[in-house]
Amino acid sequence: MTPPVDGFTVQPIPARAGIGLRSEHYQDVIAARPAVGFFEIHSENFFGPGGAPHRYLETIRADYPLSFHGVGMSLGSVDPLNREHCQRLKQLVDYYQPDLVSEHLSWSSFNGRYFNDLLPLPYTPEALHHVIDRVRQVQDTLQRQILVENVSSYLQYTHSTIPEWEFVAQVAEQSGCGILLDVNNIYVNAVNHDFDPRTFLGGVSAPTVKEIHLAGHTVNEFEDGSILIDTHDQLVCDEVWRLYRDAVRRFGPKPTLIEWDTNLPELSVLLDEANTAQTILEAPHARVA
């Protein structure tokens, strides 16, 4: 499959369920052409200049809208923005013309060393202004809006002064970016940090939410307590489905992604999860939000 002569043009992502595209499923997806609303990729997996990954992605891009989800921009780091990383993303975005481009509201590097993880920011005015400035830099480079995703966290800083939902909402409002609302991450944090997840939903305005993520998590039990870990290795749990229903009721139908990274099952398992999300998106209450 060669890309169209004039290049790809943006294919809008509908308010339907999609799934994360993983290399183990490339061939199954191309063979089965499943009826999903879109595919989302991890941008960095296509940072290499050539070879099979791009042949697969071009083929899939020809038939489906795409979302590019970054994991390595280190938006919240105090290190200067990694220009090389940002430029490579721009080349990819210019070529594939995905409808959505997203990153995480976290940091992952310090002093040039990368931890390749989504580390939590303190929710302070200083961090807020820093992240807003960084989102603007990325949007200026890419010449487009990005979405930022709320992340799961396993700790809170004693000096945080802003509730997480307010921090997320402020970043969107002041930088002009959209929000990728990860409902599983809200649930994980609500349990880990003891707040009502519906308060989070209530703190975010519907027009800023451009996409929703759903995934499975794991409960880790210790003798001194338990904690939820955002493992992306199992089915979405009932509580998260309930919270998702509330989110759809509040925000209206939004493109919704099933994310699965570890112990990846057969494609059909992801498609079943996407079907469940699709059913909720199509429920009558979702249309009158």
Partner: protein, 86 residues
Amino acid sequence: MTNTKTLVSTAVSSLMLLGIAGTTLPANAADMDKCYGVVKAGKNDCQTANSSCAGTSTKDGQKDAWMYVPKGTCEKLVGGSTKSGA
């Protein structure tokens, strides 16, 4: 000694007699000693790793499960363990 100029001239000339490259490969079996590599692509993910010991140790990783001597299929490589330096 062979005349390099003649060799080169003959080789480039026969190259130009070829059609479009990549359509056929030389059939010389002696050149075909090859293996195929399978690549596990796509390692940039955004989940949190949660190995069975995650968080249970105050130190990193799973030191208790480490081995300090190689103990895999290297035992099937013979005749080289006394060699040092490649």
